[in-house]
C-alpha cells in the first residue's frame, strides 16, 4: 500500500522523483511533510490492525480487549440510546460545557494576570511565584481540596479544569507581552499614545498570537483534566461515562470514551489553529 501510493505521487510531481533519485540530498519541506503524514496514517492502520488481530485471535479476553468492531458498535448504541442515563451527545455536551466555562474563567483571570506579569515589576513579583507553584501540581492532587472548599457541585468541576488552564493562559500572555518590540511601543508613544493607549492599541494586539497559542495549550490541558474533574458526583460527562463503565467492566465503553475524548481534542486543536490563522494572519510574517 505504501509503495503503490508513493509511486503514484512521484508520477504526479517530477521534483519529488528527483528528490527520490538522490536520497541523501536535503529533502524539500513539502516532500517531507507528505511522507510524514503518510507514515502516520500507516502507523495508525497498523495499530488498528494489531488490535483487531489480537482481538480476533482472542489473545486477550474480550472482557479486557473488545474488538474494534465491538467498540464501533457500542459507539452507535450509546450515540443512539444511552449509557448511564445519557446519550453520548449529552455526555459530550456536558463535558464541553465544563471545559468552555473553565476556558472563559481562565481567560478572564489569566489574560489580565499575564498582562500584569509582562508590563509591571510588581505584577511579576506577585504572580510569577504563585503560577510557578500552581503549574506543576497535578489536578488529582488539588481536587480533594477544591471539593472540601467548594463542595461537589458543578462549580468545583469547572474550577478544577480552570486551574489547569490558568498557567498556560497567563504565562503565554506574559511572554507575548514581553516580546513586544520596544520600537513599536516607542513609535506609538511618539505618535501621542498614553500608557493606557499603548497597552490597548499596541501591547495587546502584539501579544495576541501568543495569547491564542496559550488558549490552545490551555484547552489541551483542560480537556485532559476532564476525567479527574468528573470523578466526584457527576451524573453526565465523558469522564464520568468512562469511570462508570470501568466500574462495571464495560471495557468497550471505556475504549470508546477514550477515542471520543481523543477525537474531540483533535477537532478542538484543529479549530483553534484555523481561528488563529484567521485572527492573526500576520503571525510569523513580520
Amino acid at each position: 500500500m505504501t509503495i503503490s501510493s508513493y509511486t503514484e505521487r512521484a508520477g504526479h510531481r517530477t521534483e519529488e522523483a528527483d528528490g527520490l533519485s538522490v536520497p541523501w540530498s536535503r529533502p524539500s519541506p513539502k516532500r517531507k511533510g507528505v511522507s510524514a503524514r503518510m507514515i502516520s496514517a500507516v502507523t495508525i492502520l497498523l495499530v488498528l490492525g494489531a488490535w483487531g488481530l489480537s482481538a480476533r485471535l482472542q489473545l486477550v479476553s474480550p472482557v479486557f480487549l473488545p474488538s474494534p468492531v465491538a467498540v464501533w458498535n457500542k459507539f452507535i448504541v450509546v450515540a443512539r440510546d444511552s449509557f448511564v442515563d445519557a446519550t453520548l451527545l449529552q455526555h459530550t455536551v456536558a463535558s464541553l460545557g465544563r471545559v468552555f466555562a473553565a476556558l472563559v474563567a481562565a481567560i478572564l483571570v489569566g489574560v489580565p494576570v499575564g498582562l500584569a506579569i509582562g508590563i509591571s515589576t510588581v505584577g511579576r513579583g506577585i504572580f510569577d511565584p504563585l503560577l510557578e507553584f500552581l503549574r506543576p501540581i497535578p489536578p488529582l492532587a488539588y481536587l480533594p481540596l477544591v471539593i472540601i472548599w467548594f463542595g461537589i457541585g458543578e462549580p468545583s468541576k469547572i474550577l478544577v479544569i480552570a486551574i489547569a488552564m490558568l498557567a498556560p493562559v497567563a504565562l503565554s500572555t506574559a511572554s507575548g507581552v514581553r516580546g513586544v518590540s520596544q520600537e513599536r511601543i516607542d513609535a506609538a508613544r511618539s505618535l501621542g499614545a498614553t500608557r493606557r493607549q499603548v497597552v490597548r492599541h499596541v501591547i495587546l494586539p502584539s501579544a495576541l498570537p501568543s495569547i491564542l497559542t496559550g488558549l490552545r495549550i490551555a484547552l489541551g490541558a483542560g480537556w485532559s483534566t476532564l476525567v479527574a474533574a468528573e470523578l466526584v458526583a457527576a451524573t453526565r460527562g465523558l469522564g464520568f461515562m468512562i469511570q462508570s463503565a470501568a466500574q462495571f467492566l464495560v471495557t468497550d465503553v471505556v475504549i470508546m470514551g477514550i477515542l471520543v475524548i481523543a477525537a474531540i481534542a483533535f477537532v478542538l486543536e484543529f479549530t483553534i489553529r484555523r481561528i488563529e490563522r484567521a485572527l492573526v494572519p500576520w503571525a510569523g510574517r513580520e
Partner: protein
C-alpha cells in the same frame, strides 16, 4: 522659505550629556544642536558616537544626565506628537492596514473614522502609495513599509520629524529613490527634520546641516552646511547634483571629518 520666520519653532539640545546606568563613561558629553523648523539636520559619526542617543533625547525617550532639551522653549520630558519618530525597522502595526497605520495618531486623538481615512489617503498619496491603503503591512516591500512609516509620522502633524536611520534596512537602489522622497516630504510637511544615518552620500544629499560626531564620549567635531538639498528644493535634478564636482569634494571632506583621529 518659511513666511512666519519670527515664529519658527526650534528644537534645541543644549549642552546635553547622556550617561547610561552601569556604564563607566558618559555616552555623550556636552553636545548642543539647534534644529530650526525648516532645517534638515543630519547626525553622522562612527558607531558609539551617541547619535541615536541624542535623537532619543529629542524624542523624549531618553532623559539626559545634564543639559536641556526644549521645543519652542518648553522642556522635553516625554515623547509627544509634536516630534514623531521613524525607526530603522518601520515599527508598523501588522494587525492594521496601511491606511489604519497612517491614521493611528488621529485615532488616538479621537478623530472621526471618515475624516481620518480621508487624511490617511492624502498622506499615502503624498508618499506615492495612493492605491495601497487597504494593503496589509506584510504585503508591502521594505521601501513601501518605510513610506507608510513616514506617512504615519506625518499624520500627527509634527513640528519636527525624528528619523533614526530610516533608510538603513533598505537595499541600495530603494535607498537611492527614498532620498528624494524624504526631500519631497520635508518640503511638503513644513516640519524640521533631525535624522541619524550611516550613509555619507545620503547625509550630503539630504542635509541643510550635517553634524559630525566622534565617539568616546560622543561629541561634536565638525558641522557642515552642504546646501545640496536646497538646490534640490529649488528644482535641480538629483542626478545632476550628485554629478557636480562640488558634491564629490564635499564627500571627501565629510569622510575625512568622520574618520579624523582614527588610526588607519
Amino acid at each position: 522659505m518659511n513666511v512666519l520666520r519670527g515664529s519658527m519653532p526650534h528644537l534645541v539640545l543644549d549642552k546635553i550629556s547622556i550617561h547610561y546606568d552601569g556604564q563607566p563613561a558618559p555616552a555623550v558629553e556636552r553636545v548642543s544642536i539647534d534644529v530650526a523648523g525648516d532645517d534638515f539636520v543630519v547626525l553622522v559619526g562612527r558607531s558609539g558616537c551617541g547619535k541615536t542617543s541624542l535623537l532619543n533625547v529629542a524624542a523624549g525617550l531618553v532623559t539626559p544626565a545634564r543639559g536641556n532639551a526644549t521645543t519652542d522653549g518648553r522642556p522635553i520630558t516625554a515623547p509627544g506628537s509634536d516630534r514623531t519618530v521613524v525607526f530603522q525597522n518601520d515599527a508598523l502595526f501588522p494587525w492594521l492596514t496601511a491606511r489604519e497605520n497612517v491614521a493611528f495618531a488621529l485615532r488616538l486623538r479621537g478623530v472621526r473614522p471618515a475624516e481620518r481615512a480621508r487624511r490617511a489617503d492624502e498622506l499615502l498619496a503624498l508618499v506615492k502609495l495612493g492605491d495601497a491603503g487597504d494593503k496589509r503591512i506584510w504585503e508591502l516591500s521594505g521601501g513601501m513599509r518605510q513610506r507608510v512609516g513616514l506617512a504615519r509620522a506625518l499624520a500627527a502633524e509634527p513640528q519636527f520629524l525624528l528619523l533614526d536611520e530610516p533608510l538603513g534596512a533598505l537595499d541600495a537602489l530603494t535607498r537611492e529613490r527614498m532620498q528624494t522622497t524624504l526631500l519631497d516630504l520635508w518640503t511638503a510637511s513644513h516640519a524640521g527634520v533631525l535624522m541619524v544615518t550611516h550613509g555619507i552620500e545620503e547625509a550630503l544629499v539630504l542635509a541643510t546641516r550635517i553634524v559630525v560626531l566622534a565617539p568616546g564620549p560622543g561629541r561634536v567635531v565638525r558641522s557642515f552646511e552642504p546646501g545640496f538639498s536646497r538646490r534640490y528644493a529649488a528644482g535641480e535634478g538629483i542626478r545632476a547634483i550628485k554629478a557636480d564636482p562640488a558634491f564629490a569634494a564635499a564627500r571627501g571632506e565629510l569622510t575625512d571629518a568622520i574618520f579624523e583621529g582614527e588610526a588607519a
